[in-house]
């Protein structure tokens, strides 16, 4: 890799450090020697064409790939200096620290209220006032409170797609994670809902570390501080979003960004 775009040197006090990460689905390799540092309380966008490994990559960070058979990992992922695959690491605790919002909103078939506090419920929180406060705080944070405050106990299934996705963000926020992973959170939303989510991401940065996978380069440019370009399972270029989009150092990145390919 070109030393000038070396992903490791540019970031001080990273929250996540990834070194030489290889991932195999059976015999096919999906990630190839990924090394990068994720900055704390910033928005990092992962871009690249379909199948380049960006979704696979973020699913490593909360160990969602554990659920899939025949996945093999090599290398190291450290969260605040601790290897997340260490035997002493509790995957449940890890997932509370590293929340996730999925491409297709997936509210539970429960009330809005129960959706938000699901993470607290499974953690054993029973205190009513704390639950009530968390619901209001999380829904306000996700810019959804005003729309749903009068129907908290109605089913979440009656909301619009954009509302459901914001509910999923509120649900992730409710367990007070340090990192929120977003796997193409807007790809199934209309432009209006998309811009609301983008606003939300801008508001949340500074408080949470956000890692967002996106197909939409304008979106990456609008919401992120750092951008990583993935191609065929490799990290091609990584750096400040402004720099990547104005003066990409690698030809591949430039081709992708300018739309000559992908």
């Amino acid at each position: 890799m070109n030393p000038s775009s070396s992903p490791i040197a540019t970031i001080t006090d990273p929250i996540v450090e990834v070194r030489d990460l290889n991932l195999y689905y059976g015999t096919s390799q999906a990630l190839r020697g990924i090394s990068l540092d994720i900055p704390r309380k910033k928005v990092t966008a992962l871009i690249g064409p379909s199948g380049c490994g960006k979704s696979t990559f973020i699913r490593c960070l909360n160990r969602m790939n554990d659920l899939i058979d025949h996945v093999r990992l090599e290398g190291e992922i450290k969260l605040d200096g601790q290897n997340i695959h260490d035997g002493s690491v509790d995957v449940i605790a890890l997932r509370r620290r590293v929340g996730m919002v999925f491409q297709k909103w997936n509210p539970f078939p429960k009330s809005i209220y129960e959706n938000v506090i699901y993470g607290l419920r499974v953690a054993g929180v029973k205190e009513r006032t704390l639950l009530d406060e968390t619901v209001e705080k999380s829904l306000r944070r996700a810019a959804l409170w005003d729309e749903v405050k009068d129907r908290l106990h109605q089913s979440a299934m009656g909301m619009s797609g954009g509302q459901m996705q914001r509910l999923c963000i509120a649900r992730a926020i409710a367990v007070a994670p340090e990192i929120i992973l977003m796997d193409e959170p807007c790809s199934a939303l209309d432009p209006r809902s998309t811009s609301r989510i983008e606003e939300l991401i801008r508001e949340l940065q500074g408080e949470y570390t956000i890692i967002i996978v996106t197909h939409n380069m304008q979106q990456a440019a609008r919401v992120s501080d750092f951008t990583a370009y993935f191609y065929l399972g490799s990290l091609i270029e990584y750096g400040l979003t402004k720099r990547i989009f104005t003066t990409p150092r690698r030809k591949e990145t430039e081709d992708y960004i300018t739309g000559r390919f992908g």
Binding site: M64, G99, N106, Y118, A123, H153, S155, R171, A172, V175
Partner: protein
């Protein structure tokens, strides 16, 4: 190539035999409608015929009094009670076991030799004729374990009969729950079991319930598996004694218990009472009405359950 003039003239852009495709579509629709209507009519005719013929017996006296020996005017009270009690016992045994096995098969079992063996056993089990299950019950529960003809032996035989159905339905209902829900739950720090208990099972409940309804109807209607397990007689029951340890108590699981279906069969084939035909008609009507009632009740419960789990 479609040009502007093509579009304006309204000529179809794709020339083809769309007329015959359209006709075939209408024919297929007609056939499926006819099949559906035929089925519904058949069901109505069947149920209507049975209930109409048994209408004379649909009274409280018939439903609550015991059968008489060699005399007209006996009822099916104990048999009706036995059927319901057996249903409850058999469901208590088979539903948790079947749903548990379904959860295992859908959520825990990895494709392996063991899993294949379980699946094969279940399929074989579901293909067993019920008389074979009854004879097996006779051998194990009555002869070897020495329970005598008893409700418990009957309930066990029915459990063997119903386990494959409940297991398969439970497994399928659980597999039909969208994986996105499971991922969402795990990503919030829920354990596998919390995810199953709080999310997957409630979402799978309607499907599981329809399996249970299926099985309920079968328990009510089953005779062959019960002939040699629950027996063909009912001791005199004292309906004011609810201590399950007393022999005359209706709740005693170790007493013989003739069910409504068994009684219907028996009275029809070897009944000595002068009104045997009428009793058989009557008990058949009671049987079919009870099955309907159970189905409605189960559906209502299922809907209520689902509503509750969604609302809170």
């Amino acid at each position: 190539m479609a040009t502007t003039s093509d579009l304006q003239s309204g000529r179809p852009l794709v020339q083809g035999n769309h007329k015959s495709a359209f006709r075939n579509d209408r024919i297929a629709t007609g056939i499926f409608y006819a099949a559906g209507i035929f089925l519904v009519l058949l069901l109505f005719a069947f149920a209507g015929y049975i209930i109409y013929n048994g209408r004379a017996s649909l009274n409280l006296h018939f439903l609550t009094t015991p059968p008489l020996f060699m005399q007209k005017g006996g009822g099916v009270g104990p048999q009706l009670f036995n059927s319901i009690y057996l249903l409850i016992l058999a469901s208590t045994l088979s539903v948790p076991l079947g749903v548990g096995a379904g959860i295992y098969m859908a959520e825990y079992a990895r494709p392996s030799r063991l899993t294949r063996a379980i699946r094969l056993s279940l399929e074989t089990l579901s293909a067993l004729p019920s008389i074979v299950v009854g004879l097996f019950g006779l051998l194990i529960f009555i002869n070897i374990l020495g329970w005598g003809f008893s409700i418990l032996a009957g309930a066990m035989a029915l459990t063997i009969l119903n386990l494959p159905v409940i297991t398969r339905v439970a497994e399928e209902s659980i597999r039909n729950v969208p994986p996105a829900l499971k991922e969402g739950s795990l990503a919030l720090g829920a354990t596998h079991w919390q995810t199953i208990w709080r999310l997957i099972l409630p979402a799978a409940t309607p499907g599981i319930l329809s399996g249970v309804i299926l099985v309920t109807g079968r328990i009510f209607g089953e005779a062959a598996a019960l002939l040699f397990t629950a027996g063909m007689s009912s001791p005199p029951l004292n309906f004011s004694d609810w201590n399950p340890l007393h022999y005359v108590s209706p709740l005693n699981p170790l007493r013989p218990a003739e069910t409504l279906a068994v009684y219907t069969w028996k009275v029809n084939s070897e009944g000595l009472v002068p009104d045997a035909r009428q009793i058989a008609d009557g008990s058949a009507a009671v049987l079919i009405i009870t099955v309907f009632l159970f189905n409605f009740l189960a559906r209502y419960l299922g809907k209520a359950l689902q509503k509750r789990s969604r609302a809170c």
